[in-house]
């Protein structure tokens, strides 16, 4: 060999093209990563910009404290957001009432009682449930759950808060189960064995030892699920109706923030009208609610985590 190994290595090192690639690649990859940040800024600026335009036409206090949402009444449209928030709140409450007891029960069963085999069968099924598109849930709510509930509660309207609430609860159920189960499974076995050794039953171990130890993860999962329920769109659009009202009943037609955005988008409100800008204001309100929930979940799981 005429060339020594050292000189070959040196030659290869000094190749210009290689050096350039090594320098350029991190920059290109950083740009891709920066795009996700840009997306967030894009969302925030879009919402703020268009909402600002909305507030040049409608006073901000009327929007936040107004109890009537009548954007389509030709003469004197009213933009008080409280009925929409209340609609969202009602659906979310019902969803939580369905999803939390069933979700926690299932999580405790999977983490404390179920055999490995049962777990291997049940968990993928829950994943399927989590993968069902929300439009399918919406159709299910409208054509199955509502008629079923009408048999039990005759006063129930075709569009109501109860049916989409229950179905949103079913939708967020897998999320609560899998995240709570993760939190419970990460409680070390020595704690369980200690309690069992003192004569506890499995139920006592689950409720008095595992549940408190995993509480931060469980609460974080519930808060995240609430955030999902608030932002859920298709189920409430199909089964909730489009009548924003300021009352606490659940048998009448309602409208959520998301459903209003859908109603305007499928209608023929032109670009530049007040109604057009109102969907950004409502979207911004929705964004603030979900962001607050997400930050709260992060705070809980960081601040109250028990380390073993």
């Amino acid at each position: 060999m005429s060339q020594s190994v050292q000189s070959m290595i040196a030659a290869s090192r000094n190749k210009k093209s290689k050096k350039i690639i090594e320098k350029l690649v991190p920059v290109a990859l950083f740009l891709a990563a920066a795009l996700s940040v840009l997306t967030t800024f894009g969302i925030i600026f879009t919402l703020i910009f268009e909402t600002f335009e909305f507030f040049t036409r409608i006073s901000i206090t009327d929007y936040i404290f107004g109890k009537e949402w009548l954007p389509f009444s030709g003469k004197e449209p009213l933009y008080g957001v409280l009925p929409l928030i209340l609609g969202t709140f009602k659906v979310t409450m019902i969803a939580v009432l369905v999803a939390v007891p069933f979700g926690l029960g299932a999580a405790i069963y999977l983490s404390e009682y179920a055999s490995d085999k049962a777990r291997r069968i049940i968990k993928p099924i829950l994943e399927v449930l989590a993968g069902v598109p929300t439009i399918v849930y919406g159709f299910f709510a409208l054509t199955f759950v509502t008629p079923l509930l009408q048999e039990i509660i005759p006063a129930l309207k075709i569009f109501n808060a109860l049916s989409p609430g229950i179905v949103v609860g079913i939708m967020i159920l897998p999320m609560i189960v899998s995240m709570s189960e993760d939190a419970m499974s990460s409680v070390p076995n020595s704690l369980r064995e200690g309690a069992l050794g003192l004569g506890s039953t499995k139920f006592e171990v689950a409720v008095k030892v595992v549940l408190p130890a995993a509480l931060s993860g469980i609460i974080a999962s519930i808060v995240l699920a609430v955030s999902r329920a608030i932002g859920e769109t298709m189920i409430v659009s199909l089964a909730g109706g489009s009548t924003p009202t300021f009352d606490f009943g659940f048998t009448n037609s309602i409208q959520t923030m998301t459903a209003y955005i859908v109603q305007v988008s499928t209608g023929d409100a032109g670009y530049g009208t007040t109604i057009y800008y109102s969907i950004y204001a409502v979207g911004f309100t929705l964004f603030i609610f979900t962001l607050a929930m997400n930050l709260l979940a992060q705070y809980i799981s960081k601040r109250f985590r028990e380390e073993y």
Partner: protein, 292 residues
């Protein structure tokens, strides 16, 4: 010698043991509720939709007459949409994941990027629709095209792909990287020839699952305002189009009862596409995933 008196134990613990059994049954019941709702949902939709499902349904365009309504434009439209979403979201997502896992030093900017991705994953899909409407449809003037909807959907599923790719890249053991460096490879050579090949099954599985979320997502499409009754197929990325969930939404909203069956048939088609995509993901996971 007997240390435990069974009778005494039963007397002392009896009620607690029964309590345990009762609650076990309650927890099992809670679990079955989830499984039962899935079974009811699937059974209900299949039994409604199967009667309307035939070749004509797959090859007809949308129609105002239920019996003539078909899903061709929506099915092809969804495929066009995926043709944009898949490359855009996977390239961006994997690049971001490589940057975060292989290059990013621990500093404030990178921490911010990580936190931002976590928060982006929690933004409701309808808000992404508003972003798409303003940025892609109006500012970039793409109209209600495949490209505008595709970009919006890509941004929506980007966090999911990033997280999946990060996990796959993290699972590649450091020994492999060190061995590659030891052979004189540069960092980028190591990433391209060692890390990525080992991580690709995980990346693909995660990406397919994310894409299957995009194919069933309706809200952003509604906000962008893509049409539903189309009598032609798109021929380019700037054409208008319709998609499966959009078409189903339109049918489900219609007051005529017959359209409910059409909607159910549409859902069967959508669910079949999803099952196909998920099976591919599972096959890739089982066949190519290496454990180190």
């Amino acid at each position: 010698m007997k240390y435990l008196n069974d009778v005494l134990v039963m007397k002392r613990m009896g009620s607690r043991l029964t309590f345990n059994k009762v609650w076990k049954a309650v927890f099992l019941l809670a679990t079955s509720f989830a499984l039962l709702s899935l079974i009811v949902l699937l059974f209900r939709i299949f039994s409604q939709g199967i009667g309307y499902l035939n070749i004509d349904f797959l090859t007809n365009f949308a129609s105002r007459i239920p019996a003539k309504a078909g899903i061709k434009a929506a099915l092809i439209g969804s495929l066009w949409l995926m043709a944009v979403v898949a490359p855009v979201s996977i390239i961006l997502g994997v690049s971001t994941a490589i940057y975060l896992e292989e290059y990013a030093k621990k500093n404030k900017i990178n921490d911010f990027i990580r936190m931002n991705i976590a928060n982006l994953a929690g933004v409701p899909s309808i808000v992404f629709g508003l972003l798409g409407l303003t940025i892609f449809v109006r500012m970039m003037d793409l109209g209600k095209s495949i490209l505008a909807a595709g970009f919006t959907m890509s941004l929506l599923i980007l966090p999911v792909i990033i997280v999946a790719a990060q996990e796959a890249i993290r699972a590649v053991p450091n020994e492999q990287r060190e061995a590659s460096y030891g052979m004189g490879a540069t960092k980028w050579q190591t990433i391209v020839r060692v890390v990525l090949p080992a991580a690709i099954p995980g990346i693909l599985t995660g990406s397919i699952l994310a894409l299957s979320r995009a194919i069933g997502e309706t809200a952003p499409l509604v906000v962008i305002g893509i049409p539903v009754i189309l009598q032609f197929l798109p021929t380019g990325l700037l054409d208008s189009f319709t998609a499966l969930p959009m078409q189903i939404f339109d049918w489900a909203k219609r007051p005529q009862e017959e359209f409910q069956y059409v909607a159910a048939a549409g859902i069967v088609v959508l669910m079949t596409v999803l099952v196909l995509m998920n099976s591919i993901a599972v096959i890739i996971r089982n066949k190519f995933q290496k454990r180190y």
